[in-house]
Amino acid sequence: MIFKVFDKKELKKLFDVLSSDNSIVGPVEIGADRNDQPIYAFSLVSDFNNIKLNYSTTKLPAKKFFLPFKEDLATFTIKEHGWQKNVDYNIDRPYIFFGLHACDINALNKLDKVLMGSTYPMPYYAAKRKNMFIVGIDCAPQPYCFCRSMGSDTVLHGFDMFLTDIGEEYFAEILSDTAYNFLKKINTRDPVEADHFLYMKSVSEKNKKFTAHVDTTDLTKILDMEFQSEVWKHWGQQCLACGTCSNVCPTCYCYGVEETVDINLKSARKTKSLYSCNLIDFAEVAGGHNFRPEQHIRLKYRYYHKHRGFVEAYEESLCVGCGRCGESCLAGIRVPEVIASVRRQED
Amino acid sequence: MKIDCNVNIRHLTRVEGHGNINIKITGGKLEHAKWEVVETPRFFEAMLVGKRWENAPWISGRICGICSIGHTLASIRAIENAFGIIPTELTSKLRLLLKHMETLQSHILHLYFLSGPDFLNAGSVFPLIESHPDVVLRAAGMKLLANDLCDCVGGRRLHPTRTIVGGFTMLPEKAELKGFKDRLIKAKDDLISTADLFQTFSIPDFSRETEFVSLKGERNYPFIGGDLVSTDGVIKKEHEYKLMTNEHLVEQSTSKWSRLSRNSFAVGALARINNNFDLLHPIANEIALSFGLKPVNHNPYMNNIAQLVECVHVVMESADLIDEFLDTELGEPKQKVIPKSGTGVGAVEVPRGILYHCYEFDDTGHILKCDCVIPTSQNHANIQHDLEELAKQYAEIGRQDREIELLAEMLVRSYDPCISCSVH
């Protein structure tokens, strides 16, 4: 891995270099909540000053740029006899993601495994994924962050450049030659030992700030053992079956497909919409039979998929510990508490 | 020639709501001519009793689907008046813009889809889609503009979601509003073509002297709030609306009737123009004159033309409002609302005339008493008297059943009555 160090003032220059020819997506402030805390979102930005690099967590992940909530998989031209299928992966340009946290980059890496890795890679995702350039940035743990428990507090790959604040300067990890070339446009220097020290200090200070934890020891086994546990009913009773947790999750990718005919009857479309396993009809089949008829079973399934099934398949969990779902859940169902209750850990 | 005539229309079509027309002429003599409102009453004034203030605009907007924006705004104004809230300039401008688009969409709907087919000898707009596609497309285009702009400012085209007491839940994007300017300019041209089309129609020549009531403009043509005025010279304050409407009940109608200096009066586009002619936009003014419309005009059929003139006026003014909005530094969209006890009245000119909402609140902002006076109900008595006069005049000159029936229908439609609203 190649490292560089550059003055914080250079960052704007880097932004300008990147934005002169490309579309940039970054964290911006979109309002304030009832406690006057800023609310952040990933959005297209053209002005460096609008980017809030010290943002906490965005409400929604950057998912919409590579896994849109709604997307046409195909359109059809209907002719007198027969039809023509038109496929478009819906990409028009590369995006630069400026300021993704480690958890969100890890989320992309996990999505890559399902959507790009295994059999039948999904071109709609892959095309967008291949057309992104990622500048990661370090973060300050929030009270709800448990990424460290999920091993997502640092990220080793899946980005082009990752910046860590070491005081007056940024410490940059460089993973791609594109990133290396971009950095040539600004003033950088090679790190010296003192920089390494500053870097490690910043990391250890960050680690001290984590307050939320999830014990993942033997979690797959425990989830299996506790499959019939009463605690699921407890959480199920609170769950609104609203799907918010999946929608704000950077790794939830389940979807449904619907085919519709346009009102002129001359065209039709096949549309994919992100769905949620917490919704009542997620596992309903023709004839009305529902394989997961009760809410606690559906809620359990979500945990089961993330913390057991995915581990079984890829040896890592499908949760990055960003805490978004717990923060957005009006019923206050939070992963650390749910897992702790399944493990019968009382605090 | 002495005629016998029997007109019996149950549930008049191409009007909003349910009303019947009954005319009986025997041997050239009018026996009776009746305008009956048979709409089922919905008791909004009772529904709201005991509810918190927040419910009022949201629920009372449901009095009418066509003028839901007007109802919402009147309700908000009444509440703001009761609580002593003065809307910011930005809020007032946006509300006016929204109001204008409702006026445009309602007038276009009426001119092209409801009363228009009468002049083009069609039963509805559907055959016109084939016989006059350009006309229908032009109307659809203008309606779409009005509706889209309502969506943009008010959240949706009916039962708006952004209009609240104290301002708006959110403001439209400047860029988005800017995009509407070109469409408004185009609408002006479309309205001029509409005027050309209406010049080819023969507007029935019929007049009956009556009184016209509307809001009184100070510097601008009036739409939201202000003094109340009549062509007979009555002037009242907004909160004295009861003295202007004098609602009473009559047997043939589930809607209440109104009277002022005479036994009936008229509200609506014609009344507004009769009272505020000089405040019209110059282009609107010009079009009015080209139809020979100037105050005080007593031909109820001319209400159609008055609506057309108003369309021009609101389109021109909306373009200006957008310019002003684009130049304004946007702040908080809404003010804080602190309820207090008291009574407030909101008077708003909706497409069919002047609309009043009045609420009395307790100190926690719960509604103790609610009163809504709808333009169409103010018009009912006038429609009735016009109908009698019309039947009488035409019976004398010996017109036939079908002709009288059509003229009677057209007369009622000219008022663009919104019956379900009048029986809220």
Binding site: D21, A74, H81, T119, Y120, F227, K270, C277, V285, G287 | -
Partner: protein, 302 residues
């Protein structure tokens, strides 16, 4: 240096010729096909004969008994269906489809010659080759006969490679029996056919009752050695295969030698949409055909 990021294009034209599982273009690729014939089997089920139009593609389309494909009618819907025809007949397949919803009802209204799209084949299959030189029980309840028919055809085509072949088929009532016109040909190929119906009608001469009843009868006629060399394929509603597999288990048939086909909701068929997950196993990738041991290990499978 140019600061413009290079746009990586992934070709968006659906692949025209080949079809590989690791190819981006395979994802939304449909074989354009024609419904060449429709045969009404019962009031609820039709048999559709579907031919891939392009001769090259047709040749390349191969499948194994137990696999399914996704059938698409533009604007109407897309759904998974087990292939019901002999695997020897490549891109010319038969699907036995029950009217159950939007797509299937519309299919019942179309006529011969209509174009449809098919994707696939997807999923696991019955491991027919492993069963060579063994006895096989082919046990079906209701519509479960549809996927089994492909295995039956395989057994017919490779009759010499199997010992005893026994079809056990249960249906609600005689009018719901599928593929009645083929029973003779099966028996002619020395395949035992045992049919039982739950509700009888005057035309019915055979046994009446649940499928377990007829199984017991058959079991009682076989000696213990028979079961040592036996495989079983069970297709039908979950309750049925639970009972049946338990009975087979009592005869000491190992769970790895029993195969069942699971049905779940599916929107992609390619391990993406998650709708078919059992526990967190994709039915479309790891299934629909599972050995019974795997099913036992899947939470909430039955």
């Amino acid at each position: 240096m140019d600061t413009h990021l290079k746009f990586t294009d992934i070709k968006t034209e659906g692949r025209q010729k080949s079809h590989r599982r690791d190819d981006f273009e395979a994802f939304e690729f449909t074989y354009k096909s024609e419904i060449t014939n429709i045969h009404q089997l019962t009031e609820m089920e039709n048999l559709y004969r579907i031919q891939i139009l392009d001769p090259e593609e047709r040749k390349r389309f191969t499948f194994q008994p137990g696999q399914f494909l996704m059938l698409e009618l533009p604007g109407i819907g897309e759904a998974p269906f087990s292939i019901s025809s002999p695997p020897s007949r490549h891109g010319d397949v038969e699907l036995c489809i029950r009217k159950a919803g939007n797509l299937t009802n519309f299919l019942a209204k179309i006529s011969r010659g209509t174009h449809v799209g098919i994707r696939g084949p997807f999923g696991t299959n019955f491991p027919m080759e492993k069963m060579h030189s063994q006895n096989i029980f082919l046990i079906a309840g209701g519509l479960g006969l549809a996927p089994l028919r492909s295995a039956i055809a395989y057994a017919q085509d490779n009759r010499s490679r199997f010992n005893n072949v026994e079809i056990i088929y249960g249906a609600k009532d005689p009018s719901q029996l599928l593929f009645t016109y083929q029973y003779d040909t099966w028996q002619a190929d020395d395949i035992n056919l045992n049919i039982i119906v739950e509700k009888t009608d005057p035309s019915w001469k055979g046994p009446v009752g649940l499928i377990t009843k007829i199984l017991e009868e058959i079991f009682s006629k076989k000696d213990d050695d028979f079961f040592k060399n036996t495989y079983a394929i069970v297709c039908g509603p979950p309750v049925m295969f639970k009972f049946v597999c338990n009975m087979l288990g009592q005869k000491d048939i190992p769970m790895q030698k029993m195969f069942v086909s699971l049905e779940r909701r599916m929107h992609c068929g390619m391990g993406k949409c998650c709708r078919c997950n059992v526990g967190s196993t994709y039915t479309c990738l790891k299934g629909p055909v599972f050995d019974y041991w795997s099913v036992m290990n899947l939470k909430e499978a039955i």
